[in-house]
């Protein structure tokens, strides 16, 4: 019952006029960012975080969460209308959304996407409200060793479940961690890795520099290459009759909604997964379980609902470990987590007792944001179509301006802007060669926290690494560590497993 009281408080917090205005503004920006090909929630949040420094943390998180949320809705718009995903999270929406648009039923696809997103968002927020307080209570008992073990597990999920080339994934994690060690050493106070004695390195590398570099500059370069500055759009007739028909078609998609909402939420909690794999998995499973699975790919509303439901659900799910454990569940929440540190908060379970207004304001705002985004999304479809006609050659320099100013503003130094350009270019090249970039962003955010937890644990244990593996002494830390080790060695067994199965089939 206590939860209901907190939740109502949270909803009232998010309905205060300043917060509500930011929420609606955030939803609009999110929808816009999501709809633009090449920009997704992670880009929007990374580029916008520097401007949240002057508003209170609660308002800032409500604004950024609304951007995150809106982008999940908006991604569908360009998937359907342009046939290119507006964000990586909307890749699976293209499979059936595009064929529907080609058939002339674009409005059906867009409505199905919006309603699917709404259902996924709502179910997951309810799950979130139920799960978060008990999980935070358990997490309150965590000390440094448990925290460090959790972070190792977060990194290990990228290796075990990320599906990318293993040495390249580990490289990405390690370079993020190494970059986070630049600057003054926590314990001894000695300067570390001050290249060419440039004083700019003394304050370390802010995670924002890497995040804006990779997700701002790097992403723009990537999209410029893909689109060559031009986009093609399919035709759309907007009338209320179509919207009505679209709602009628949604009756057949209840199974897709269920799968998307629940699967999305739990996949979203995993650090390596996030919304993109959640939506792909949801699409795949819905297709397999559907009675008319052959029609998938030719344009069925269920094929749009399943991934859209899942990506919204996953984005809420990824906030669960961020708030309760201080471990982000997706690249976007990694940046939000870094933002919390910049706003002067300590991410983790203590937030629930020390900053209830912040936590419950965020949770409450998710309920409100869901409603507003649904309404804005359907009402503003004609406006977004105009936005999609903006040539990329005009949008790109505007984004560059935002990146340069955003990279400069937090530390007021051009040094960081240069680094941001370097990271953007390097990130673009590495991404072209299939080096995953998300682990690096996650690890530069978690790096300082992980280092602190590691060193505190080692002080507790008089310098023995045994503290992480002793089941009788620290059972939770040990279990988490062993799970992490299993995840780390899992890819090694993949080929063996496949070989075994192949032999069985041929035999």
């Amino acid at each position: 019952m206590e939860t209901v009281g907190f939740l109502l408080d949270g909803i009232f917090t998010s309905l205060q006029w300043f917060n509500l205005a930011l929420l609606i503004f955030g939803c609009l920006i999110g929808l816009f960012v999501g709809a633009m090909p090449g920009l997704g929630s992670v880009n929007g949040v990374a580029i916008l975080i520097p401007i949240t420094f002057i508003i209170p943390p609660t308002a800032a998180i409500i604004f950024l969460a609304a951007v995150y949320y809106g982008a999940m809705y908006g991604g569908a718009i360009s998937s359907v209308m342009l046939g290119i995903p507006g964000a990586s999270t909307a890749v699976a929406t293209v499979f059936d959304g595009r064929p529907l648009a080609v058939k002339g039923e674009a409005m059906t696809a867009l409505t199905a996407a919006a309603v699917g997103s709404f259902v996924g968002g709502t179910v997951s927020v309810i799950l979130f409200t139920l799960f978060a307080p008990p999980l935070a209570e358990v997490a309150l008992r965590f000390n440094a060793p448990e925290t460090f073990a959790l972070m190792v597990m977060a990194f290990a999920t990228f290796v075990g479940l990320g599906g990318d080339d293993v040495p390249k994934t580990i490289f990405s994690i390690l370079i993020g961690l190494a970059l986070s060690t630049i600057g003054l050493d926590l314990i001894t106070g000695k300067p570390r890795l001050i290249f060419f004695n440039i004083p700019g390195f003394l304050h370390g590398i802010n995670f924002l520099v890497l995040a804006i570099g990779i997700y701002g500059i790097g992403e723009m370069l990537w999209t410029l290459e893909e689109t060559k500055g031009k986009v093609q759009m399919s035709k759309l007739s907007v009338n209320m009759k179509e919207v009505g028909r679209a709602f009628g078609a949604l009756k057949k998609t209840i199974m897709a909604m269920n799968i998307g909402s629940f699967l999305g939420f739990f996949v979203g909690i995993l650090p390596a997964a996030g919304a993109t794999p959640a939506s792909l998995m949801s699409y795949g499973i819905t297709k397999q379980l559907s009675k008319n699975s052959k029609e998938f790919g030719d344009g069925v509303p269920a094929g749009v609902v399943a991934p859209e439901c899942a990506n919204n659900s996953a984005s809420t799910g990824s906030m669960l470990p961020m708030l309760t454990l201080g471990i982000p569940g997706s690249p976007t929440t990694a940046i939000l987590l870094g933002g919390m540190i910049l706003w002067g908060l300590t991410p983790g379970p203590l937030l629930f007792t020390q900053e209830p207004e912040f936590v419950w304001g965020l949770i409450g705002s998710l309920y409100i944001a869901n409603f507003f985004t649904l309404v804005l999304n359907i009402a503003l479809i004609p406006a977004f179509l105009m936005v999609l006609r903006i040539p990329f050659a005009i949008l790109a320099p505007v984004i560059f301006v935002l990146c340069v100013t955003g990279g400069y503003a937090p530390t007021q130094s051009l040094h960081d802007v240069w680094l941001m350009l370097l990271f953007g270019f390097a990130g673009y090249i590495l991404r072209k060669l299939d080096y995953p970039v998300a682990p690096a962003v996650l690890s530069i955010v978690l790096g300082p926290l992980a280092e602190k937890a590691l060193r505190q644990s080692l002080i507790l244990s008089d310098g023995s690494m045994g503290i992480f593996f002793d089941v009788s002494e620290k059972p939770i830390a040990a279990v988490i560590m062993y799970i992490a080790i299993v995840l780390l060695i899992m890819p090694a067994f993949g080929p063996l497993y496949r070989r075994f199965f192949k032999k069985k089939q041929t035999a």
Binding site: I51, F53, I54, D165, P167, K168, I170, F171, L174, I175, L177, A178, T181, I182, D185, I187, T188, K190, R192, L193, F195, I217, M220, L221, L224, E225, K228, G229, P391, A393, I394, A396, P397, V398, F400, V401, V404, T405, Y408, A409, Q412, L414, V417, W418, L421, F425, Y428, I429, L430, K432, L433, D434, E451, R455, L458, D462, G463, S464
Partner: protein, 204 residues
């Protein structure tokens, strides 16, 4: 054969892996400037973590190189160009103009640099009219100024152009009423548009 065809995915993969391996070694050497040892009696040396992290990076790049030599990675068999010629032009011009932009910010200050950057970029890549580009290139820095310096109170670098902004600051922090300031803002945003519009009429 153009240069973009010569740089295949295969060549890029091995070149990048070797560069990353060299960078990892450089990081290891740099970390070793601090104490890199750690045992039960002594605290962890300041160089310990960076050293072993970069050692790990080095091992990963070596594994990538081994996979390449054994032709186990998809990139090691890929002879297609790393980037096609049209996209290369886009990327190269973008990167060079960004580098010039940041260089110029250090000297000219951000607002004037942005005008040149936007004007060049739009002229080069878009098919918009000169008057559109002029309005766009002038209005964007004005909005940036209003947003950062006025709303957020975050000063952006102004380089040699700083004295030009003194009167603006005097006005911003002077005792004018809110309404006067608002009218001023609206005028500064609209004025360039109106001017460009008028001149384009006259020139035609």
């Amino acid at each position: 054969m153009s240069i973009t065809n010569k740089i295949t995915v295969k060549r890029a993969e091995i070149a990048v892996a070797v560069i990353l391996a060299l960078c990892s070694i450089a990081l290891m050497i740099k970390s070793a400037e601090n104490r890199i040892t750690w045992n039960a009696e002594e605290n962890m040396g300041a160089g310990f973590l960076p050293f072993y992290l970069s050692l790990g990076m080095f091992i990963c790049t070596i594994l990538t190189i081994i996979k390449f030599v054994l032709k186990r990675s998809p990139q090691s068999k890929d002879d297609s160009p790393f980037i096609d010629a049209v996209a290369f032009k886009f990327i190269a011009v973008t990167i060079i103009s960004l580098v010039v932009l940041v260089l110029a910010i250090g000297y000219l200050g951000i607002y004037f640099s942005l005008i040149f950057f936007l004007a060049f970029y739009l002229r080069y890549f878009s098919e918009k009219s000169i008057s559109f580009i002029t309005i766009f290139a002038i209005t964007t820095p004005i909005l940036t100024f209003l947003f950062f310096e006025w709303m957020l109170k975050i000063p952006l670098p102004q380089g040699v152009s700083e004295p030009l902004f003194y009167p603006v600051y005097d006005f911003m922090y002077g005792g004018f009423s809110f309404a006067v300031k608002m009218i001023f803002i609206i005028l500064t945003v609209l004025l360039p548009t109106a001017l460009v519009f008028l001149t384009s009429r006259f020139i035609k």
